[in-house]
């Protein structure tokens, strides 16, 4: 730790900033954020900018636990404060976040995935939340998640939630089994929304027989019971209107694969809709049917993403053929697409297959994405 600090200080003394060190196959990447220095040591193929992204998420996770103002205050009082003292009990959030980023393309894409639902069903769920919570003052966001996917998000007019904040919320839910045992009242800072203030989140699963997690976020710390009652009402209504059943059905269904869509040469794909910051991906199929291969595939997507988005020479289209797979990435004003094919596919076949995929997505759009942006 001393060495890291010395390295940063030495370069800072020359009015400069150390960004990375490359030694053999090991990369050291630094970011300095307020009083903290974050360092990533990596032997993977991730680019410097991707490691910076990971470090930034870790920093935001710390802010989410403490807020920026508290962090700054602590270090104003004691420059050598051991931050671990303030983070006890939340180590699992940081651990989980780092693992999460290795297998979730959401972080790479800066987008969230939605739980596929019939548009009428999703509307009905959204309306239930709007009608039940509409009159509750200071309720800023209502978020319903299942299997890490968004079912709906209702926001207060004028306020938006950044995907990066939503990822922290997903991380919190996914790393906390205890939310299943009781209603929770959890302070959380959303750094992109307001890095200096806490919001209070009423967190609970809808029901024993419907494991979707509802978060009601407010700036008012005294409304737990109001939100608790609202949640009960929401669940009763959703049950009466068969929405719980629809959620369960979609949660239990294995994701459709590209083979099932009728694209035999396409193995996998990531499709990001830019305007909504949402993405869709099919289920993994052979050869990506174990953790190791999935991670390798996500690694390939990372490389592809990096090459497309190099700041000094961004690309629109990239076709790359290796011994294990052929990949094609394409960025337009409306979407980003990263496709994986059999290694021997021809360029023409790949493009034809993408054409069919886009048609299918267009047809299913309303089920795969949340196209409206409901407010209270």
């Amino acid at each position: 730790m001393g060495v890291m600090q010395a390295l940063v200080s030495f370069v800072q003394a020359g009015n400069d900033m150390i960004r990375s060190i490359h030694a053999g196959d090991t990369n050291f990447v630094f970011i300095v954020k307020g009083p903290l220095i974050l360092v990533a040591v990596s032997k993977t193929k991730e680019s410097v900018s991707q490691l910076v992204l990971q470090l930034t998420y870790v920093y935001n996770q710390i802010l989410s636990i403490l807020t920026q103002s508290q962090l700054t205050r602590v270090y104003e009082q004691r420059r050598n404060f051991d931050l671990r003292r303030l983070l006890t009990g939340s180590e699992r959030l940081i651990d989980h976040l780092l693992n999460f980023m290795e297998r979730e393309p959401a972080f790479l894409l800066g987008a969230v995935k939605c739980l596929p639902l019939q548009p009428a069903m999703r509307d009905s769920i959204t309306q239930t939340i709007v009608q039940t919570c509409g009159k509750i003052k200071n309720l800023v966001f209502a978020i319903l998640l299942a299997n890490n996917q968004l079912i709906t998000l209702v926001r207060m007019k004028k306020f938006f939630i950044h995907p990066a904040d939503l990822h922290l919320i997903q991380n919190l839910v996914d790393s906390s089994e205890s939310f299943k045992a009781a209603e929770s009242w959890t302070p959380i800072c959303l750094p992109r929304f307001d890095s200096n203030g806490f919001m209070h989140a009423h967190v609970s699963y809808l029901a024993e027989d419907c494991q979707a997690c509802l978060l009601l976020l407010t700036v008012d710390r005294d409304v737990f019971f109001t939100l608790s009652e609202a949640k009960q009402k929401i669940v009763e209504k959703l049950r009466r209107t068969n929405c719980l059943e629809a959620i369960n059905e979609s949660m239990n269904k294995t994701s459709i694969t590209t083979a099932e869509i009728g694209l035999p040469e396409m193995r996998h794909v990531l499709y990001k809709c830019k305007s909504t910051a949402q993405f869709w991906s099919p289920g993994f199929q052979a050869p990506y049917n174990n953790e190791k291969e999935i991670q390798r595939l996500i690694g390939c997507y990372q490389c592809l993403h990096h090459r497309l988005h190099v700041p000094n020479r961004p690309l629109k289209l990239l076709f790359q053929q290796t011994d294990k797979e052929t990949m094609l990435a394409w960025v337009t004003s409306g979407f980003e697409l990263y496709t994986t094919f059999e290694p021997l596919v021809t360029k023409t076949d790949a493009i034809n297959s993408i054409g069919k995929l886009l048609k299918w997505i267009k047809k299913e759009e309303e089920r795969l994405f949340i196209l409206s942006s409901p407010t209270f």
């Binding site: 699992r92 205890s178 209603e183 929770s184 959890t186």
Partner: protein, 213 residues
Amino acid sequence: MASRGTAQRPNGTQGKICQFKLVLLGESAVGKSSLVLRFVKGQFHEYQESTIGAAFLTQTVCLEETTVKFEIWDTAGQERYHSLAPMYYRGAQAAIVVYDITNQDTFTRATTWVKELQRQASPSIVIALAGNKADLGNKRVVEYEEAQAYAEENGLLFMETSAKTAMNVNDIFLAIAKKLPKNEQTGNAGTSGQGRRLVESEGQKPTSGNCCK
């Protein structure tokens, strides 16, 4: 208000229902959540993740004359949540301050929680001290007698508990239920801040094991 009502008791007689707010306080990792989970759900997890913020649960206990419904706030023990604690003990009629019998610092921390409650919480609050992890007797550093003497001096209920073996878990909640005043005045005074209604108790089954002893 209205922290009372009538409900059909399991044995068929009409009983009074009293609703009380109870808060658990104590250093992190002493077993607050484990005690509550044992009491409310009869469960124990060897690895219980640390609470973020606070968790809310309810459980009902039957006494001879009355049914006591606990509204339980299980708070996080970490230093950074300390400033939120008053939000949970404000208006509470009962508190369980928990320490770990294998860790002296947690006992010291418990005594400062007791002091804070005596100074800041409702004057009539019933405080119980729980020396948890009693199953780890071979690693004990806080003597039973030491804690008992402290509890007596300060007018606290005291028990050593084990969320793992369930030892004394129901008993400590039951002892609190018995000690809580069930006459009109105190019952009302305590919940008035919260304005909780009593509707959901009807038809809710009190768990076996702590019912009607």
